[in-house]
Amino acid sequence: MMNTGSRHNRSIPMALLFVLTIIVFLCAPIVGMNTISFSAILHPASGNMESDIFWKIRVPRVCISFLAGAGLAVSGMAFQAMFRNPLATPFTLGVASGASLGASIYVRLGLVFSILGISGISIAAFAGAILSILLVYGLTRARRGFSITTMLLAGVAISFFFSSVILFTQYMSDFSQSFRILRWLMGGLEAVGFESVLNMAPFVISGSAIIIYMTYELNLMMTGEEIAASRGVGVRKTKKILFFATSLMVGGVVAICGPIGFVGMMVPHICRLLIGADHRYLTPATLLFGGAFLTLCDMLARTLIAPAEIPVGIITALLGGPFFIWLLLGKTSSKRGII
């Protein structure tokens, strides 16, 4: 009997994902260079170093990595469905390049400022992200209609253009600036404190909420715009809402964490292989697995060669790549997962 990927075998991977998420959430803040006693966790007295490390550094960091992972993964999922392209990532439309350009210029100019507790580099990155979103939207609008292909091409073109400007900026920088830019491009979750969590959360929560609200539309968009329209989807409006919600979410994440690669492209594929393509189930699974996966990767990134840290983007690809290939070679994948 061939695996038909029917409805009832969805509950086991879903339950496993829930358990994984809870385990990761409980373990990640405890694991680290310094061991932390339970009494320090339960009695958060200020001045106690252990409890400070736990509550002021590790817990916010776990929250940040979970939010970032969930946001990037669900954005990738939405773009893959909307563009009907398995290679789409949250960064396909140039949001990450825009953000990176903003960050590089900030570093190159040697600026140091912060507004309302938000670091200047994040503000610069977010401004870059907004710039690229507006450019892609403007270019798509300039050619009458709102064609997916035009949007995709505009995004890719802007991505390439910004990337060369980043390289140029880096080339014109001194050694330490150049290294800071490179380090930013690798992505990282070093942002400390709950301010970053509070800055990122609105983007991820509102973006995810909109995507959860539109799961039926995502399913239909994946079958093609014509079928979607004939089933009653307002295709143009749906594309616009998804484009802005997803891009803003990516912008909010990238502004704080930099362009962490791999999560946004591979997590949705992995979830599709496990759960199937129905976005009513795929969306929560992608949010959970994206969050848990990035949290896990970050835990490894900060402990493997402690006290130094490995850029988390390296871990995501090293861990996720082989796992994805293993799934891809599995027996259900050829029919199930890939769009």
Binding site: T4, Y216, N219, I339
Partner: protein, 261 residues
């Protein structure tokens, strides 16, 4: 059953200044089975897409069930018309059941799960099309003929009483062609669906439909009963080619056969 469901008056449509449809007028009554024929590029598919507002705009007047097309929301329209596109080898990673259930979209609100009525509609659609037995299979594992039935089932499940089909039997083997024609006839006769089907198969258009609409270069060249259609005066005008005719041994209807040099 004699209510007009679709009424088109003086409709023209163009894409980037190239005229595709010119001054189309015709109407469809509830419960009719109409075939739309014409050479490649005549605008048949465009006409279906304009009716279903996959293409928006155009000038002239289109009314569905008496209400102007542009007064419909896309969801309301989907409750009146459903559309089966031309087969393209697109891989859709859904099960048959999931895909047919997606036809219920115009009846669902964002957070509501499909209810009893939706399940019944899907069940009925699977029964009419005879695909209930493989409802749990994934679309990419199906043959072209099976897949076409799934697309028709999804359109039936949508609960719209007018079916727009774009070459439903192209690429199918003779058995599956007959299957699809039979199930469309059943949907039409027993379940009250109005059928508008674009086709290049003139013989089947004659055998299945009551009326034929022929388009050429974006304009109507024939609109009438099937038995008025089968003569070289009309067919020559449409296809710029002469035809040979024979009588169908069972029904006595006039059909065409290929000419031998």
């Amino acid at each position: 059953m004699e209510n007009t469901i679709i009424e088109i008056v003086g409709f023209s449509f163009s894409i980037s200044n190239r005229s595709i449809l010119q001054d189309i007028s015709f109407s469809v009554k509830e419960g009719e089975y109409i075939s739309i024929v014409g050479p490649n590029g005549a605008g048949k598919t465009t006409l279906l897409k304009c009716l279903d507002r996959i293409y928006k705009g155009g000038s002239g007047d289109i009314r569905i069930a008496g209400k102007p097309l542009d007064k419909y929301s896309q969801k309301e329209l989907a409750q009146k018309l459903s559309y089966v596109p031309q087969a393209d080898g697109r891989i859709l990673p859904f099960t048959v059941y999931e895909f047919v259930m997606m036809g219920r979209y115009p009846h669902l609100s964002p957070f509501s799960l499909p209810g009893k009525r939706d399940e019944e509609a899907v069940h009925d659609a699977l029964e009419i099309t005879g695909i209930a037995e493989f409802s749990e299979r994934l679309l990419p594992t199906l043959s072209g003929g099976e897949r076409q039935k799934v697309f028709i089932a999804a359109a039936l499940a949508q609960g719209a009483k007018v079916l727009l089909l774009d070459e439903p039997t192209t690429f199918l083997d003779p058995k599956h062609q007959a299957d699809v024609h039979r199930l469309l006839e059943r949907a039409n006769r027993e379940h009250g669906f109005t059928v508008l089907s674009v086709t290049h198969d003139i013989n089947n258009a004659i055998l299945t439909s009551r009326r034929i609409l022929a388009l050429k270069d974006g304009a109507v060249v024939f609109c009438g009963l099937t038995d008025k259609f089968m003569n070289n005066e009309i067919l020559n005008k449409i296809y710029e080619k002469s035809f040979l005719f024979v009588k169908h041994p069972q029904t006595g209807k006039t059909l065409t056969v290929p000419e031998v040099p």
